[in-house]
């Protein structure tokens, strides 16, 4: 496993912006004094005139993005997920989503994998907050390949999009033939006994758990649902009909995020047994990212253990 390439999706985000700057002259990137951390500095190096540092004022930054979009630009507003989805929530709702403006929110440092900074910076509520806003597209890519393609897809889509990127390096699980489409899930491993739906950093762990389950004779299907909204209900229902058991994995509160979205879909159309793996209604804490992911059972071992209990 050690030879697998690992890249943080925030890095992929910054690189994608820099690569796409020439093709999309309307692209403008906003940051809130975190260009080095969000990696929008990679865009700034190539297009300094189109990189606007708004300083430590996230609410205003969302409004600036709305104004730029109203005047025909394609702004990406970047900061940590906590401040994008949390602090500036009402600006995102009222200044961006309600007028249906073409603003992209590039939120980095989501979840407990922020690590040592602790709970104040570990946003575990952003899927829920963004998903409930009418018309908002919510995307959480799993790896470098998907993250880069998601940035392009967001630019080519006309309307508000929330993109969540991580701080920590994650394995590249997709190959170069992979094609990301907004609203389309992707079956990474076919199986018939249980469906594991994951996104973001938990996709690699879900695949590892599936391998361990396979060794014990349980054939798990693993689906990457990188678009939380709109949800690929067709794919989910087909898999649930086949396996009859669905587990969701996310680096987010089990309330309101991917698990809730999947539960909403299945409970209405095809009720099956479900397990929601995520952070169980609590705040995060300080520590190295890998240790926290292990403690909160979001790594391969933790996901495997929880699914084993669920299947008993």
């Amino acid at each position: 496993m050690s030879e697998i390439k690992k890249i943080a999706t925030r890095e992929s985000y910054g690189k994608a912006l820099a690569e796409l700057g020439a093709e999309f002259p309307q692209l403008v990137v906003l940051d809130a004094d975190l260009a080095n951390a969000t990696k929008t500095e990679l865009f700034k190096k190539v297009y300094p005139e189109r990189h606007i540092d708004c300083g430590i004022a996230e609410s205003n930054m969302m409004g600036i993005a709305a104004g730029l979009a109203a005047a025909g630009m394609i702004p990406f507003a970047s900061t940590f997920a906590m401040f994008a989805a949390g602090r500036a929530y009402e600006q995102v709702r009222n200044s961006i989503a309600y007028p249906r403006l073409n603003v992209k929110i590039g939120a980095t440092h989501a979840g407990i994998s922020v690590g040592e900074d602790g709970a104040s910076h570990q946003c575990l509520e952003d899927f829920a907050l963004m998903r409930v806003i009418p018309g908002m597209v919510v995307i959480c890519p799993a790896d470098d390949i998907e993250a880069r393609q998601a940035v392009r897809a967001a630019i080519e889509y006309n309307g508000p999009v929330y993109l969540r990127f991580g701080r920590s390096a994650v394995p590249v699980i997709n190959d170069d033939n992979y094609t990301f489409q907004i609203g389309k899930g992707h079956v990474l491993r076919s199986g018939k006994d249980v469906t594991i739906v994951a996104n973001g950093i938990t996709v690699a762990g879900a695949l590892e758990a599936a391998e361990r389950l396979a060794a014990e004779g349980t054939d798990a299907e693993v689906i990457n649902i990188s678009t939380i909204k709109p949800l690929d209900t067709e794919l989910l229902l087909a898999s649930a009909a086949k396996t009859g058991k669905v587990v969701t994995c996310e680096e987010h509160s089990i309330i309101g995020g991917l698990g809730s979205a999947v539960a909403e879909c299945l409970s209405e159309s095809l009720p099956v047994r479900m397990l929601r793996i995520g952070v169980r209604d609590r705040f995060g804490e300080s520590g190295p990212a890998a240790e926290l992911i292990h403690k909160y059972q979001l790594d391969g071992e933790g996901i495997y253990t929880q699914i084993k209990d669920f299947l008993k």
């Binding site: 609410s59 409004g63 709305a66 104004g67 730029l68 009402e90 309600y98 007028p99």
Partner: protein, 274 residues
């Protein structure tokens, strides 16, 4: 436009405001009446706009940051020919394009959806920045309430606008001195307003917001100011033009009943003959 004609138009706007809010049986007449002269000047004199081509990329933009004064904006837009005046009495009703607070997804000709205080000024700054980035010469105007200055986002936007040298942005403050809970000086005073904007890096002009000569010269000065945004602090009277509404916080968000409507319209009819 001559001052006499502007006054007559502003008075028609005031009648429209009172008629709209009366028909809706709710809404915000006080702050709409205090900015009626300014709104008339912007839409009939100052801004480079064309009601026949409301999405023109080069048009000047207006953001009503104090979005609750939508009745004033709708009235002036109807008077200017953006939509039929008959539509004004649909304000706040189901199916109307005239939402309680302005919404661009309902009504063409609006430049931004507003209503949540403090947010409009940021979006106006974003539009001004867009003009700078794209090499366009349009100007952006935004109107704030004085109570709205209590919102922290206003000052984030002010800091940004000065730091980015948005001299194509004019921020107007409708200083009628009243907010829902009483006098702004008593509730959570934003005074001194002029010194605050000045400290944030704005060129500041203080005027009487009911005198067209002063309004005209202020906008001329704003256009000629380079390197920084301009703030026009206009002293106004809340409820201006309707005797029983003037300088009364209680008329911030209350609609007149039939009897009060008749008195208000009589007051405004008389103003036409002054």
């Amino acid at each position: 436009m001559q001052n006499k004609e502007l006054k007559r138009t502003a008075n028609a706007v005031r009648k429209d405001i009172v008629t709209e809010v009366h028909a809706a049986k709710s809404g915000h007449p006080g702050g709409s009446l205090s900015c009626a002269d300014l709104m008339t000047y912007l839409y009939f004199e100052e801004m480079n706009i064309n009601p026949e081509d409301p999405a023109n990329e080069d048009r000047d933009r207006f953001v009503l940051s104090k979005g609750h004064c939508a009745p004033a904006l709708y009235a002036v837009m109807a008077e200017r020919g953006y939509f039929p005046k008959e539509e004004l009495t649909t304000l706040r009703k189901v199916g109307s394009r005239l939402q309680g607070h302005p919404s661009i997804i309902y009504l063409p000709g609006l430049d931004m959806s507003t209503g949540s205080l403090g947010q409009g000024v940021s979006t106006a700054a974003g539009m001004a920045l867009a003009a700078k980035l794209s090499g366009k010469t349009y100007r952006v105007y935004t109107l704030l309430g004085d109570g709205e200055l209590e919102e922290g986002e206003v000052w984030e936007a002010a800091m940004f606008s000065a730091a980015k040298k948005l001299d194509n942005l004019t921020v107007i403050v409708d200083n009628n001195g009243l907010q829902i809970d009483g006098r702004i000086a008593d509730v959570n005073s934003p005074y001194p307003i002029d010194e605050k904007f000045s400290a944030f890096g704005f060129h500041v002009i203080t005027i009487n917001g009911h005198e067209f000569d002063e309004i005209r010269s202020a906008f001329k000065e704003a256009r000629e100011t380079k390197g920084c945004p301009t703030a026009i602090i206009m002293k106004t009277t809340k409820g201006k033009g309707v005797s029983f509404m003037e300088d009364k916080a209680g008329w911030h968000g209350t609609a007149p009943n039939d009897e009060q409507y008749a008195i208000a319209m009589k007051d405004l009819e008389e103003a036409d003959h002054e």
